[in-house]
Symmetry: C2
Subunit: 127 residues, 2 copies
DNA sequence: CTTACTGTTATATTTATCTAATACAGTATT
DNA sequence: AATACTGTATTAGATAAATATAACAGTAAG
């Protein structure tokens, strides 16, 4: 997997796993790949994986059974709340970014609509 | 000025300055504050400012007159192109982020519209 | 009990970021 | 020339992130 420069790998792993959980790719109770397997597939050190999982544990997204593995939380409310919060965050981040470029909220919306319109005209696989 | 954790300060300074340029807050030919003044106002070391300015120089956004200061490029095309590119980038980043949360493009658009509608209903200062 | 998986912890090393302090160099004003 | 601004460069030190390596500990199946 590729990582962005300039943002810690363990954070990127965290965020990716959280997204997989809220998106349903990883379901409540599912077992994660073992730390060593994750380290291999992410081409990253075991300690780096451990660091990410430790954070996810503290945040309640996963729980650990020592000797067995790490499992996705059964707290459906947490998952739903997180999803809602991440969506809202993405929206406000987008608006803030556009505002920093000189576009007010409605202009930002217009830019998005404009992009999607072009995307439809050109043949852009998904719709 | 506050900085985000986990993303290098010199990069945040770079990005902020670029935004000020494309947004028109800093105009072509304008002199930037001196490195030492920037270091004070950003509560950051001179070397960190220098690092940011060195990058901006290489990218063509500013030019340096030694002994005089740093000045915003006169290349209007570069500024316009960069603005356009940053806007497109913000849009695609937003869509990609939403897709990672399980929302297709049209759903992402709907979420944005929904947010803006609520914002209007509540008294949200700007419009 | 042995084996082979799990997660956990510790030590040492490298690299990037950031700071601090200092010195050097160009420009302009007096 | 002296002063006071500019940018530039160097050195040293602190911290965080990531790697490599190794050992320790729980679980389960043979």
């Amino acid at each position: 997997m590729e990582f962005k420069d300039n943002v810690p790998i363990y954070l990127q792993i965290e965020q990716r796993l959280i997204k997989q959980i809220v998106q349903g790719q990883l379901q409540a109770g599912d077992r994660l790949p073992s730390v060593r397997k994750l380290a291999v597939t992410e081409t990253v050190n075991v300690n780096t994986v451990q660091r990410a999982l430790r954070d996810l544990n503290m945040q309640g997204f996963i729980y650990t059974k020592r000797g067995e593995g790490n499992f996705v939380t059964d707290d459906q409310d947490l998952i739903a709340d997180t999803k809602e919060q991440l969506i809202k965050q993405a929206v406000t981040d987008f608006l803030k970014e556009m505002q920093g470029l000189g576009l007010e909220h409605r202009s930002a919306q217009a830019a998005l609509e404009n992009y999607l319109r072009k995307e439809e005209q050109d043949g852009d696989s998904e719709h």
